[in-house]
């Protein structure tokens, strides 16, 4: 039995209304109204500290906004919604167990019938199945974290700078798996500050700057002629604060 329930409407369309997040009186996410169409590969960009990670956590319901709301196909984000989504963090959080046990953990959770070995084979880690997960290289660990997230059959997959500290081969492997998942119908929301990566992956770009939504533009238009000063400076390689 998969956790996907066919009776529920799909979750792929997103809407946020006046979404704000404050810590100790400081606004880190400031009044963001954003609507995303279903089934795009959306990339969130912005300089360090822009609020990308916080925004992603809000969308996934990991943290509660100070004001405003997050809707997935009209449903306010809650436990049930989050259960149909998955997230890959910047630093992979792997269980202190074998590679295979990390996959089995989520398979048991969802009572889902995927075979662990098939999953590991797909990402080229079958030979390491019985090794401690934390003995893998960082790139392999991130691939495992990604495969584990996909093993939950999420309708929406969030990735928070998953390749920020990886070598080129590992980056490519991650991007290929993400692209494949997107083709298979998983809605992807991918955070990166790597312009090259955004160009390779994005169908649309959401640009955040200092907690504001600077712009939300189809990828081609964004890279040709961004609408916001912030994004323009960023793409020019100017330092953006």
């Amino acid at each position: 039995m998969s956790k996907k329930s066919s009776s529920l409407p799909p979750l792929s369309a997103l809407q946020t209304t006046s979404l704000s997040l404050e810590y100790d009186g400081v606004r880190y996410i400031d009044d963001i109204d954003l609507s995303l169409e279903p089934n795009r590969l959306s990339v969130i960009m912005g300089p360090n500290g822009a609020g990308k990670s916080l925004f992603l956590r809000l969308l996934h319901g990991l943290i509660i906004p100070s004001a405003g709301q997050v809707f997935w196909n009209g449903v306010p984000v809650d436990d049930a919604v989050r259960q149909r989504q998955a997230m890959v963090f910047q630093r992979p959080v792997l269980l202190r167990r074998s590679v295979a046990a990390n996959i089995d953990f989520v398979l048991n959770l969802n009572g889902n019938r995927h075979r662990c070995n098939d999953i590991l084979d797909n990402i080229g880690l079958l030979d390491f199945a019985n090794q401690p997960a934390r003995s893998l290289s960082v790139g392999e660990q991130q691939r495992l974290a990604l495969a584990r997230a996909l093993a939950t059959e999420p309708e929406v997959l969030f990735l928070d700078e998953p390749t920020a500290s990886l070598d080129p081969a590992s980056i490519l492997a991650i991007e290929e798996i993400v692209t494949q998942a997107h083709k298979n119908g998983t809605r992807i929301i991918f955070v990166t500050h790597d312009i090259g990566q955004a160009k390779r992956l994005a169908e649309e770009v959401i640009f955040l700057h200092q907690g504001h939504l600077a712009e939300h533009t189809p990828a081609q238009a964004f890279f040709n002629a961004p609408k916001s000063k912030a994004a323009e400076a960023y793409l020019d390689g100017r330092i953006l604060l």
Partner: protein, 235 residues
């Protein structure tokens, strides 16, 4: 001094000849303290895990009290258990006073706070690492607890050993509720305490030596577990 070296010689004779009384006493000590350890872990580890992942009002004071209970004086525990188990006490009808069961109960009470408090610390650190990932995966609470207990197992074994070490070495509680009755409730520490005063130095010394060995073995086990934990966690 002559007396002491004679006694030492006799002590080693007892050990190497496998003296029956000696073996019986050591056996009972191990049985009582290992049972106490198992029972205290069965209760204390889940308690530690629940405290590690729960946020509730009054959590701070609970943790402070739990930490303070780690230093419970064994004689006080012995006295309290005695009062409950003595014929006039609320549980007097079970006739448990001066039995190994009474000693196990006392040692469980003594080491339960140690197991719960130390495991709470370890599991809270582990949970800090896992919490957001588990929230993302919507892992149910019970599965979180069992995952923490399983992934923390090597570190938790050192906690169990710390509890065992404390139980096997304490004398105050077992003397009061056990009574050091020959062939029934005589354990290593109570025998050392009471046989010394009766002048049976060889037996006391032999037991002291075995107790030291056990303490060393427990420490060696803890150290090798620490190495294993480190290796498994950070390679």
């Amino acid at each position: 001094m002559q007396e002491f070296s004679d006694a030492l010689l006799l002590a080693f004779e007892l050990i190497f000849s496998g003296d029956k009384d000696l073996i019986e006493i050591i056996g009972l000590s191990l049985r009582v303290s290992l049972t106490a350890m198992v029972v205290a872990c069965a209760l204390g580890l889940p308690l530690g895990a629940i405290l590690a992942i729960s946020r509730f009002r009054g959590r701070r004071p609970v943790l402070v009290i739990l930490n303070a209970l780690m230093g419970l004086p064994p004689v006080v525990v012995g006295l309290l258990v005695y009062l409950h188990l003595s014929r006039a006490g609320p549980m007097g009808s079970f006739g448990l006073l001066y039995t190994p069961t009474a000693m196990i109960i006392a040692q469980v009470i003594l080491i339960l706070p140690i197991i719960a408090a130390l495991s709470r610390q370890i599991l809270e650190d582990l949970n800090a690492e896992y919490a957001e990932q588990f929230l993302s995966l919507s892992v149910p609470r019970r599965a979180v607890i069992s995952a923490l207990l399983w992934d923390g197992r090597y570190a938790l074994m050192t906690v169990a050993l710390a509890g065992f070490g404390r139980a096997i070495a304490e004398v105050g509680a077992v003397i009061i509720v056990g009574g050091n009755i020959d062939h029934l409730t005589r354990v290593m520490t109570s025998a050392i305490a009471l046989e010394t005063s009766k002048g049976d130095l060889p037996l006391a010394l032999a037991l002291g030596f075995v107790l030291l060995l056990i303490a060393f073995a427990v420490n060696a086990a803890v150290m090798s577990l620490r190495l294993t934990t480190g290796r498994y966690a950070n390679v």
